[in-house]
């Protein structure tokens, strides 16, 4: 009797779904009452500090002599995303792979830092950070990983200082050709966005504005996240990951006023980095002077730094050993989360390991 079998199957399915729904509801209550999970747990030391910025050196077996300096974005969000939780941390992965891993935390800037510029970050702060990495590790060379905005900043430094012994450079989701920077490039176009007026009126760009800008980029993201949470509420591992990620995701960071002005004007509106017209500290930034081995990693669904705008470094850098990989995921899931641990981290660590022997 097929009808009876179908009906029995439907009842069984309904019962299973009902149980799942009850588990979800119970976990939702637990989630609401749960304390904020701890993030950024890999043991580390502050080896250098200047104003709000900190340079961390992480505990690791340090089986490789050449240290790795990780330069993330300034403003927008905190770097805890790179060391989210044990088992889902890029920092932890790099440390376990034997790298002497350093991370530059730019810090959270206040009104007193409104005079900070891209110039100052690249020509005054980064040189000191690199020097501290070399001094602390006792190495003669280092490798640099630039992530997001950290890539154009650090690659500008590398291009301006060919005497600095950078053994290898990795650009992870870092925008280079801003003409291909997607929606942000359009919204920040000088025809529609008067950055001078914005900065002169509000000063530092408030964290709430940064939040709105990024939310606008994917308006359905919050709905998707909420729905995914609901479907996975019966999975404790997913819930733990969600808690950690949402703690990071709700912590937006403001932009210092003059930094934002220079960033929007010279990078987004005038696209000076690839046009060869960018000058920092009075000196030109010529990407052809980047001659070390180069790995560029783009994310297929990156709306912040679309693959084309990241890949441009391959075309403009002077390196002979250069490769580009495009991995699944978005701007964040490229480096954080389960998919990143499968697709991205081993690619980056294997590539570096082969060049830092």
């Amino acid at each position: 009797m097929p009808e009876t079998r179908d009906a029995a199957e439907a009842v069984r399915s309904l019962a299973a779904e009902w149980t799942r729904t009850l588990t979800r509801a119970a976990h939702a209550l637990e989630l609401a009452a749960a304390p904020e999970p701890a993030i950024g747990l890999t043991p580390k030391q502050v080896v250098y500090r200047r104003n709000k910025a900190r340079l961390y050196r992480y505990e690791s077996p340090r089986t490789r002599a050449v240290p790795v300096l990780f330069v993330p974005n300034l403003g927008i969000s905190r770097p805890s995303i790179f060391d989210l939780q044990p088992g889902s941390s890029f920092v932890e992965h790099m440390c376990r792979s034997g790298f002497d891993f350093f991370l530059l935390d730019w810090g959270v800037y206040g009104e007193e830092d409104n005079g900070l510029t891209v110039d100052e970050c690249v020509t005054r702060l980064l040189p000191r950070v690199v020097r501290k990495v070399l001094e602390t590790s006792g190495a003669d060379e280092l490798a640099v990983i630039g992530y997001c905005m950290g890539a154009p900043l650090s690659v500008s430094f590398v291009a301006q200082h060919p005497e600095v012994p950078v053994r290898a450079y990795v650009n992870m989701a870092g925008p280079i050709d801003f003409a291909q920077a997607g929606l942000f490039a359009l919204w920040l176009d000088k025809r529609f966005y008067d950055v001078d007026r914005v900065v002169d009126t509000v000063g530092a760009i408030p964290a709430d504005w940064v939040k709105v800008g990024f939310k606008l980029l994917r308006p359905t993201m919050d709905v998707t996240t909420a729905l995914n949470l609901w479907w996975n509420l019966d999975n404790p591992r997913y819930v733990r990951g969600y808690q950690a990620l949402s703690r990071w995701a709700n912590d937006y960071v403001p932009f210092p006023a003059e930094f934002f002005r220079q960033w929007v004007k010279e990078f987004y509106q005038e696209n000076r980095l690839v046009q060869g017209t960018l000058r920092l500290g009075g000196q030109p930034v010529d990407l052809r002077r980047v001659r070390c081995p180069l790995l560029v990693v783009g994310a297929k669904e990156d709306y912040i730094a679309p693959p084309g705008c990241v890949r441009a470094l391959i075309d403009h850098a002077g390196s002979t050993d250069k490769s580009y990989v495009e991995l699944p995921g978005g701007h964040i899931s490229l480096i954080a989360g389960r998919s990143a641990s499968v697709h991205c981290w081993p690619r980056v660590s294997d590539w570096l390991a082969a060049r830092l022997r």
Binding site: A10, D113, R131, D189, F192, T220, T224, L227
Partner: protein, 212 residues
Amino acid sequence: MTAQNPVQDAFEIWKKALEDGTQAWVRALGQTATPQPPPGAPDFSQFWRPILGQGMEIWQKAAAQGGVSPEFAQQWKAFLDQWIEVWSKALGQAMATEGFAQALGRYLDQSLTAQAPLRKGMEQYTDQALRTLGLPSRAQVVGLASQLVALEERIEGLEDRLDEIRRLLGQTTRATDRPGETGERRAPGGRRASRSPGGPAARPTTPSQEAR
């Protein structure tokens, strides 16, 4: 409606109910619910109508292909995912237009115009209140913090110069002890391994930096 597929029929009813509901909302908001609105009057339902239609199509196609299985939760999830994806695409397309960027810019401009006097007034009022209480104003605190930041920078600049002098002294001493050796280290690959990237000797300075 088709007698063969009850699911399709159910969703046709649902779709119609949604459309009727929206028309009611439009009427309540004072918009005409006629199919052809007079020129200049926005028809808000036009925006979601194609998106809703697409969502319905996706669901109907899925239902027509396999009917409804007992795994209705999975089907519902798939439907929601696809519908959100359609929404996301539609919004993405709308936001990727110059018209949207222009509207966004205009909105920001208006908001700044409204904010500027308000902000200035608030600052003046707060400063006055703090002065009355004998407390430092916000601008004074920020100014003090900026001076500390600048001081830190100057100390670090001095440290850099000291390091450089120490390095040069070391080089000179080694060159005196063992003539012929420059003291420079060579990194694998033949490049000079500088220990002071961007140090005073290597770092270009602008007039404004020197003034600090």
